[in-house]
């Protein structure tokens, strides 16, 4: 009934990974042979590594060229992941180890590993987080979160005022200004939502349970409204925390890779001036 497109990205990825592993093994062997011949293959492996890194950067360019038939982004992502792992292997073959000596080379190595590890982290993170987002139960577009929170803020204020107006008691008003106002001001409990812990939920539960004991029947509907707004806010906060972390991670990865590539170009220049 529902037509689903065949997911052929996975075999594509595996095939690429096999090819990449073979290339690394071949280049490692070639590098060793050159070493035995009192020559060295660092120029070859360096260019391969640079090509790999530039092709990794092309992913960002492809994303801006969606109007052209450049191939499905899902394949590009598989390519990006595989070439990224390939670049890690190539880095080890090129440097002959894990780290480097010298100030700028250590900065470069550090950036490389930071980029690579952030990439691995991100790939795993992106596989885990969507399910968390879906489970929150309420979907919101990231850019609309401030608007939704503003709306909830108004709703909450109205509910508090309604409660005060309905009963004449200042309870709900006081509750709002003491406790809930800060809560509705902006996204809260970021870390708890990020980790999937229940701190925020418990916070809301406790406070409303407490106040429920203090309100009468006339204020009950307003309290219910306020509570509904607070619970909706929890969903939005969770979305905010997780979506923001997803976007932040990408930013970190891109920024690190930009710095990495800059230094790689610098390294290219230096090597050609000094070592060739």
């Amino acid at each position: 009934m529902i037509v689903r497109t065949v997911n052929s990205v996975r075999p594509f990825g595996y095939t690429l990974a096999a090819i990449g592993a073979a290339v690394i093994a071949g280049l490692a062997y070639y590098s060793h042979q050159e070493h035995l011949k009192l020559s060295d293959a660092t120029f070859v492996t360096g260019w391969v590594l640079l090509t790999a890194m530039v092709s990794l950067a092309l992913f960002n360019i492809r994303k801006r060229l969606s109007m052209m038939p450049m191939g499905r982004a899902a394949y590009w992502l598989a390519l990006h992941v595989v070439v990224g792992l390939f670049a890690v292997g190539m880095f080890i073959v090129h440097t002959g180890g894990i780290w480097a000596t010298g100030f700028y080379e250590q900065v470069m190595a550090g950036l490389f590993w930071a980029t690579a590890l952030s990439g691995v982290f991100g790939w795993l993170y992106q596989r885990a987080m969507p399910r968390r987002l879906t489970r929150i139960g309420y979907e919101v577009v990231y850019e609309r979160i401030p608007a939704e929170i503003a709306a909830l803020r108004e709703e909450a204020e109205e509910a508090a005022l309604e409660g005060v107006g309905a009963s004449g008691e200042p309870t709900l008003g006081r509750f709002y200004s003491e406790t809930m106002q800060d809560f509705f001001r902006r996204p809260r409990f970021m870390i708890s939502h990020l980790l999937g812990a229940g701190a925020a939920q418990q916070w809301v539960d406790l406070r409303f349970r407490t106040v429920r004991g203090l309100v009468g029947a006339q204020e009950e509907p307003a309290l219910a409204r306020l509570e509904a707004a607070a619970r909706r806010k929890l969903s939005i906060d969770a979305h905010y925390a997780i979506q923001r972390s997803l976007k932040l991670w990408v930013a970190v990865h891109v920024v690190l890779s930009a710095a990495m590539l800059t230094l790689a170009v610098w390294h290219l220049i230096l090597v050609h001036v000094y070592a060739r």
């Binding site: 037509v3 990205v9 109007m67 982004a73 590009w76 992106q126 969507p130 399910r131 990231y142």
Partner: protein
């Protein structure tokens, strides 16, 4: 303090079907017997008959051998032959080669690349100089001839249409593809009426209404029956006898979208009209011609949906066959119209005479779907409830894969000069979201009511697109769309200033929606741009 560009607000007849039609032509037209028979008084003052004739119709002169309409094309016009004769080519139909079918303007890589510099950071920029008095026609009259039409068509007894005969109205009104190709065998003078005008004519003139309905029975039904796999291999005579016996039934409202929007989802099933009820005895085979039907069975105190039917599906075959084999059997399930359903009922007797003797194997029963666990119903139920079954290219997002990166929206924007054509939100069931992107419905209700015909189906492919040049921004399509997939935008000129109506100062708006990236090679950019394969355009 003019910060905006001013334009005259487009009116309904701002773009006449034939801008070259003169008053003399109109007078000439009104001499045609069929046209003359129309009672001009029945038409309201805002939509005078003359206005319709002048703006919503045009006179075309066809040469002998020229193809007027091609089978399978989507068309928005009906044709009234004023003089000359045309053959309706049915069974076998003309081939694509004979029809001179050319593909639509191929998706051009050049157009794709040009998007790179066409992007702006001002939303909805239009080159307003294009909006002048450009006659809008979805296709210009390109004469396509059938080669050796005398040889191809001669020797075949084909239905011939002559003066005062009309064709093509069913495709225009029913938003379905042309049922058959029509070729002129003599030089002919034809009045082409676009469906906005046809709609008014049918609405206000009883004669036309009757004519159109009769035509349907006479012409389209045979084609439809021929297309039904159940009747494969039957002789023309058998088909004819079936056609003669078939009854038309219409359930629900043609304008179902508005009632859909009003009703709450829980109550919808209760409002759906019943076509056949479980437990009753079948009174013939039901064929769904258009619209959708829901097949359900009683489950305790409620009804459980087993599946849904769309155009081309049949209902009741297994029960009738069981009855044919021996012993009557009641309907195993209930069939309801979802929104709107056009059904054909083929009497049992005809089936027993022509069809059942040829069947060796009992047809599958709908009860096979009953074996599915009850709790797994949600996705299907939801799809039917929300009428997503209407969509042929619904944007389905797997929320368990989507990282909310908005690459799909950016990709959509990149193919439309920086303006996205959908919003990444929509109704959610479990981890599936159907986003607010045009689903290119098989029953596009948005097309009902467009005053200028700006929203139309493309010749081939059948996707629903809006012609920006002729859209007047009335918002009818946006309000009609039951899924909120069409959005009106305020346009800006090239400098970024808002374009306003020079008469009232109100901003000029245009309707926009997903057009499946027409003109861009590779298909919808959104699907291609999702790095996690979360977004798919699916046919429900």
């Amino acid at each position: 303090m003019d910060l905006a560009t001013r334009l005259a607000r487009p009116q309904r007849w701002d773009r006449p079907f034939d801008p070259g039609m003169t008053a003399a032509d109109l007078e000439q037209l009104k001499l045609d017997p069929v046209v003359a028979a129309i009672d001009a008084d029945a038409f309201p003052g805002t939509i005078p008959l003359d206005g319709i004739l002048a703006n919503d119709s045009r006179i075309i002169h066809y040469k002998a051998g020229e193809i007027v309409v091609r089978e399978g094309d989507y068309g928005n016009s009906a044709f009234l032959i004023m003089s000359g004769a045309c053959d309706v080519v049915v069974n076998p139909p003309l081939t694509d080669a004979q029809l001179g079918r050319q593909t639509e303007a191929p998706a051009s890589i050049g157009r794709a690349i040009s998007q790179l510099w066409k992007r702006t950071v001002v939303p909805e920029v239009r080159d307003v100089s294009r909006y002048g008095n450009i006659a809008v026609t979805e296709t210009d009259h390109q004469a396509v001839f059938l080669q050796d039409y005398g040889v191809v068509l001669g020797g075949r007894s084909l239905p011939r249409l002559g003066a005062q005969q009309m064709f093509g109205e069913l495709a225009a009104l029913g938003r379905t593809p042309r049922a058959a190709s029509v070729v002129c065998v003599e030089d002919a003078e034809v009045l082409e009426i676009r469906w906005q005008g046809l709609r008014e004519l049918r609405r206000f003139d009883a004669g036309w209404r009757r004519q159109i309905d009769t035509n349907y029975r006479a012409n389209a039904l045979i084609s439809h029956l021929q297309d039904t796999p159940l009747f494969d291999g039957l002789s023309d005579d058998a088909l004819q006898s079936i056609a003669d016996a078939t009854l038309f039934e219409t359930y629900g409202s043609f304008d179902w979208s508005s009632s859909f929007q009003r009703a709450e989802s829980d109550a919808r099933l209760g409002t759906e009209p019943v076509i056949a009820r479980e437990g009753e005895y079948p009174d013939g085979l039901l064929l769904i011609r258009a619209g959708f039907g829901r097949v359900s069975v009683r489950q305790g105190a409620a009804e459980r949906t087993l599946t849904y039917l769309s155009a081309g599906d049949h209902f009741g075959l297994s029960e009738l066959y069981a009855g044919f084999k021996g012993g009557g059997s009641p309907m195993e399930a209930t069939l309801r119209a979802v929104g709107y359903a056009d059904a054909l009922r083929v009497p049992t007797k005809v089936l027993e005479e022509h069809v059942f003797p040829r069947m060796n194997k009992a047809p599958d029963s709908f009860l096979q779907f009953a074996a599915r666990p009850l709790a797994d119903d949600s996705l299907q139920e939801w799809a039917i409830e929300e009428r997503f079954i209407n969509g042929t290219m619904a944007m389905l997002i797997d929320l368990d894969k989507c990282v909310r990166c908005d690459d799909c929206v950016r990709a959509c924007a990149s193919t439309h000069g920086g303006n996205p054509r959908f919003v990444r939100h929509g109704k959610i069931n479990d981890h599936w979201m159907v986003a607010n992107a045009c689903m290119h419905c098989s029953d596009p209700v948005c097309m009902i009511g467009c005053p200028t015909g700006a929203i139309h189906r493309t010749q081939a492919g059948g996707s629903v697109v809006i012609n920006d040049d002729s859209c007047i921004g009335c918002g009818t399509c946006a309000n009609s769309c039951p899924y909120n997939n069409i959005r009106l935008v305020e346009i800006r000129d090239l400098s970024g200033a808002p374009v306003q109506d020079e008469a009232t100062g109100q901003p000029i708006r245009k309707a926009t929606k997903c057009d499946l990236c027409a003109g861009i090679p590779g298909g919808p950019a959104c699907e291609r741009a999702c790095p996690h394969g979360a977004l798919q355009r699916v046919d429900f």
